[in-house]
């Protein structure tokens, strides 16, 4: 995406306004600038396993950045983006439970390219036991320039697994989602479910049909999938591609094979639709900021200009300005109303989301406990544990998606209070998924060590000894000479056996209780973390919105104050001063008008009325 043009406009505006010494406005533009610089366009590549996700990313980039393998391959998400030099960085969150995602500490380790597979693949790093949160691969490829970041997600376990839940939770933060499925078969239930979720939270969803080189009837599958999408009312484009052909084209520079591979269309979609949209949003945001900032300055200058030109009018002007200032104060007061909407909304949201989360989690605990009581948890522990983890993960991600949707809705509710004030742009809402699942301690397994022989013998001896003593003694009365007599030995064996049996029963109950406690503790931990995360997130959203609107009201007020001061200066000024000042004002105005013209040029041609803008556009730009 070409960001140089908006950047230049911001820089010129910054230069033009330094002389006004308005640090608040400077800040606003500098913010806009840094946003422009690090705004990445994130494209998630998602799908069931073995559909060719990594091959697709490799094909898109034209380099073997994601290892591929015949058996299940990718275990760690891989973020691929542009850089001048090839670098591979393994990233691990050190403090994933921190309140603000921006302040999280991460451990970053750079590794040589040939070691990538060992860390990313299921073979080298089964189940991601090394605990990487993701891998960043930077490669110098033109297709990635412009901020495109492709994220290859692990397919392990499919869309309905823990990984799948993590992918789901990353959806709101993505600019586009590519659902990858191969041409062997039409969409299956989980894929359509995923798509339905994706379109509700992500602005660009496209479906990619891979391996068209392998299946003669891929066109039929394409049509069938179109039908499924239409039935499910999912509005998404479908791209048939062949990574093998594309790869061949890359290796042999075969333009014909490249055209056949279907990749040019997909890249076109990414560049035009996804990057284009992000670009439009960025331009719109910049234009809005520049225009808002300069408008205030122009207003000041105009007021001063007319006061300087006609000092007699200055008194009337000052009255108008006083009125305007009252309006600005009123805006701040009005902020009390929207702030109330915001506060109430956030409180409601907190309560609802907390309830939803607890409800889901309670159900999981209940079912897990039933399962534990039905058998010996030491034997089925692995299954129970993975089931609990998977259910908890999907519950947490469902809860998160719901929270995100509700938060966006709330932001619009708040924005409605400003309906009268031109087109208010909302600041970007934060939607980093909760990492709570990773930060939670793993579930403690109940003690599974079988009762040791020594222990068993000891228990048996203890029981047996008692029996021997009691009944052996009784035996001596019956005429046996020694305390070790058949009666005593019989009793010893029986009581020894009974002690072992009792001990075993006791241990089973103990294990069941331990397992129940472990599940409950785990679910509690996750609930606690996720609830805290979502409360934090909502608080941040609330703070962002409040700061955004308060800052604007403040800026407006200060501008009006300055206008008033300018008018006052005009009344007191001498003729010579006045002329010099007027000349200054004219040059300043001209300068500002130039940047304003440039900023307006960033905006797209006006859209015909009636075409509703996607809600996300309003949310993201700010």
């Amino acid at each position: 995406m070409n960001r140089t043009e908006p950047l230049a406009v911001v820089d010129r505006t910054l230069a033009a306004i330094t002389r006004f010494e308005r640090p608040d406005l400077d800040d606003r533009l500098r913010h806009a600038r840094s946003r422009l610089l690090d705004d990445r366009v994130r494209v998630l590549v998602v799908g069931e396993f073995k559909q060719g996700k990594s091959m697709l990313v490799n094909g898109l980039v034209g380099a073997p950045v994601c290892p591929t393998f015949d058996d299940i391959a990718t275990a760690v998400p891989t973020h691929v983006r542009h850089a001048e030099k090839v670098t591979i960085t393994l990233v691990r969150d050190l403090d994933p439970a921190g309140p603000d995602p921006a302040q999280r500490r991460t451990e970053r380790i750079e590794v040589p390219a040939e070691e990538l597979a060992a860390h990313v693949c299921e073979q080298g790093n089964p189940g991601n036991r090394e605990g990487w949160s993701h891998v960043e691969v930077a490669v110098p490829r033109p297709v990635l320039s412009g901020g495109l970041e492709l994220v290859d997600t692990p397919g392990v376990g499919g869309l309905q697994s823990v990984h799948g839940a993590a992918t789901m939770a990353a959806l709101p933060g993505a600019d586009a989602v590519l659902l990858v499925s191969d041409a062997a078969q039409e969409y299956i239930g989980p894929e359509l479910e995923f798509l339905a979720h994706a379109v509700s939270v992500c602005p660009n969803v496209a479906c990619v049909l891979t391996k068209t080189d392998l299946y003669p009837s891929w066109r039929r599958i394409l049509e069938l999938n179109r039908g499924h999408l239409a039935t499910a009312e999912v509005d998404a484009e479908l791209f048939p591609v062949s990574s093998t052909l594309r790869w061949h084209a890359v290796l042999e520079s075969d333009a014909e094979a490249n055209a056949e591979s279907g990749f040019p269309e997909l890249i076109g979609f990414l560049r035009k639709r996804v990057l284009g949209q992000a670009d439009r949003l960025a331009r719109r945001g910049v234009a809005h900021d520049v225009l808002a900032v300069t408008e205030q300055l122009v207003g000041n200058l105009r007021a001063e200009q007319s006061a300087q030109q006609n000092p007699a009018e200055a008194q009337r002007l000052m009255r108008t300005l006083a009125e305007a200032q009252e309006r600005a104060t009123a805006l701040k007061e009005r902020s009390a109303r929207w702030q109330q909407t915001l506060n109430d909304g956030v409180a409601d949201l907190n309560a609802d989301i907390d309830y939803d989360l607890r409800d889901r989690m309670r159900e999981i605990s209940r079912m897990a406990e039933e399962e534990i009581l039905a058998g010996d948890p030491a034997k089925a522990w692995d299954q129970i544990a993975s089931w609990v983890q998977q259910e908890v993960a999907s519950a947490a991600s469902a809860n998160f998606l719901w929270a995100t949707q509700r938060a966006r809705w709330l932001a619009h509710q708040v924005a409605e209070h400003f309906a009268g004030d031109r087109d208010q742009l909302l600041p970007a809402l934060r939607n980093d998924p909760s990492d709570a699942l990773r930060s939670v301690r793993p579930m403690a397994a109940p003690d599974r060590s079988p009762v040791g022989l020594g222990n068993k013998a000891l228990t048996a001896m203890r029981g047996g000894y008692g029996g021997l003593l009691m009944f052996g003694m009784a035996g001596t009365f019956l005429g046996f000479a020694s305390i070790i007599n058949p009666l005593g030995i019989g009793a010893a064996i029986m009581m020894g056996g009974k002690s072992i049996g009792d001990e075993r029963k006791r241990l089973l109950t103990k294990r069941q209780n331990e397992a129940k406690a472990a599940v409950r503790r785990y679910v509690d931990d996750v609930t606690f973390q996720v609830a805290k995360d979502s409360r934090d997130r909502l608080r941040l959203v609330q703070r962002d919105l409040r700061d955004h609107f308060t800052a604007q009201a403040e800026q407006l007020k200060r501008s009006l104050q300055e206008s008033q001061q300018g008018a006052e200066r005009a009344v007191k000024a001498s003729r010579g001063e006045r002329e010099a000042r007027l000349a200054e004002i004219v040059t300043a105005l001209e300068q500002l008008e130039t940047v304003r013209r440039q900023a307006r040029a960033l905006l797209p041609a006006p859209v015909p009325a009636g075409s509703p803008a996607r809600p996300r556009e309003a949310v993201r730009a700010g």
Binding site: G158, A184, E186, Y187, L214, P216, S217, W218, S242
Partner: protein, 503 residues
């Protein structure tokens, strides 16, 4: 082999029929169960959508009897059984059965439901004269996890009915492309409840469409076998099924039904310059752009791109006749391995599996009619006491890891219980050509080993019970061996013990 259990089952069924003389519906159902004992084993082929169920069925039958298609194709449960002449019967839920016309197109059977909606159809029955169907009736089922929830529901209802009614299939071949959460869940639901619980023993998992792994490279089958190997070692998979085999269904089907014209077309392709052909085979679209697109389309449908690559290279390597090519294709498809596994794990146990299904069925019928309490005791005694069923149960428990045996002993126990095959040599792990004397030696050695395990005071009660079952199996092997010096009859293994006695 399992004559005792079958006899017991037959007796119970007859008694049950006697007890329900005044209830024609139940009597009919019981008679059907009785007849089932003499029918071939019923093997259901299940799996997710497009796993290649119908294709594998065709490969097993050796004829194109099940319609296959690129889209989701099988919508109703379809039975394929041996019959004197081809006949298709449509059994409806709300109307008497009707016969459908038997038509073939391009050598493949065409089944047209006409205007009957799929949800009204109870089942389709295809009678087809075939050697392969004589030993086992094959049941094709709609895919699970289908986008059309209704289709999957039909399969789940067929194989895993909600109430305690037993399933109609005696054994299941489960097809998957890779083990998916939905597959595991579904396999899990096959674990029976109740006394006859034998879990994984009647399920075999197949990695189907193995030819498509790795983008249809010529060595795709090697990769697929490696993956099957990995699954076989995975404890969760072991608990769910008997065995995992990789099969390239399409190659197998085509290999078993290869036609002269197809061979000729392949030979013509193989005669083209190698580099040229390779470039054409890079994608299906390229291949179809060559000479005679219609013919090539047909070839692709029958062989797949992997099949074309494989066949042309086989012909170049010297497969010069249709028969030679067909043999090579079948050999490379992994079908042989699947058939061998089916033979040892289903066919050798077929009487047992059938008797078990029948007993479960009559038990559930008696429970619903609330009659013949004494009979139900009988059934329970047979199910709990029959040593063959005890073997099945123990196999399942061993596989799911609920009973722990010392290292090394577990593998031997599984073998002695007849996991790898029911013959004495298989059970003892002796060489195939072992003389009866050698077998006798091995059998006594095993018996001795396991008798010592039984009295091992360090073993838990469960383990000792498991060892007792193994000892009984050893005793059975010894009993079945010909007496020393009594001539060299075929060394057939198995266990002859009256049902109902406890070991």
């Amino acid at each position: 082999m399992s004559g005792t259990v079958t006899t017991a089952a037959r007796r119970v069924l007859l008694l049950a029929i006697e007890a329900h003389r005044d209830d024609p519906a139940t009597t009919r159902a019981l008679h059907a169960q009785l007849a089932r004992l003499d029918e071939p084993l019923r093997v259901a082929i299940a799996g997710k959508v497009k796993a290649g169920k119908s294709t594998l069925l065709n490969a097993l039958v050796g004829e194109q009897v099940a319609p296959t298609d690129a889209g989701e194709c099988t919508r109703v449960v379809t039975w394929y059984r041996d019959g004197p002449s081809p006949r298709i019967t449509l059994q409806r839920k709300d109307a008497p059965p009707t016969a459908l016309p038997v038509r073939r197109r391009d050598g493949a059977l065409v089944i047209d439901l006409g205007d009957v909606p799929a949800e009204r159809v109870d089942r389709l029955t295809v009678d087809w004269p075939s050697q392969s169907l004589r030993v086992a009736t094959l049941i094709d089922t709609p895919g699970i996890a289908s986008a059309t929830a209704e289709n999957s529901r039909r399969t789940v209802a067929f194989l895993d009915p909600d109430d305690d009614a037993p399933t109609e299939a005696d054994a299941v071949i489960y097809l998957m492309r890779h083990l998916h959460a939905a597959d595991a869940q579904f396999l899990e639901s096959f674990r029976d409840r109740g006394v006859a619980r034998a879990g994984a023993v009647h399920t075999i998992a197949v990695i189907s469409r193995a030819d498509e792994i790795g983008g249809g490279r010529v060595d795709a089958m090697f990769a697929a076998r490696g993956i099957a190997q990995r699954y076989r070692a995975d404890p969760t998979v072991r608990g769910l099924c008997q065995n995992v085999v990789a099969v390239a269904g399409l190659i197998a089907e085509t290999g078993r039904t290869l036609r002269q014209t197809e061979f000729a077309a392949m030979a013509a392709l193989a005669a083209e310059p190698k580099a040229d052909l390779e470039s054409q085979l890079r994608s299906v679209d390229r291949f179809l752009r060559g000479r005679d697109p219609a013919g090539r389309r047909q070839l692709l449908q029958r062989f797949g791109i992997f099949g074309v690559r494989l066949s042309t290279s086989l012909i170049r390597q010297g497969a010069s006749s249709p028969a030679a090519l067909a043999t090579e294709l079948v050999a490379r498809s992994g079908l042989g391995e699947l058939q061998r596994v089916l033979q040892t794990q289903f066919m050798q146990r077929r009487d047992l599996l059938k008797a078990r299904s029948a007993l479960l069925a009559v038990d559930s019928m008696l429970r619903s009619t609330q009659r013949g309490a004494a009979l139900r005791h009988d059934i329970e005694r047979i199910l709990a006491g029959a040593h063959e069923l005890a073997e099945l149960r123990l196999l399942a428990t061993l596989r799911s890891g609920q009973v722990e045996l010392p290292k090394g002993a577990a593998a031997e126990a599984e073998r002695l219980l007849g996991d790898a095959g029911a013959s004495a040599a298989c059970r003892l792990g002796s060489a195939d050509d072992a003389t009866p004397d050698q077998l006798r030696q091995d059998a006594f050695a095993a018996l001795d080993r396991w008798q010592r395990h039984v009295v091992n005071p360090m073993f838990s009660r469960n383990t000792v019970d498991a060892c007792r079952v193994v000892v009984r199996s050893c005793e059975g092997i010894v009993a079945a061996l010909p007496a020393p010096g009594a001539g060299h009859g075929p060394a057939s293994g198995g266990v002859h013990r009256p049902a109902g006695t406890r070991g």
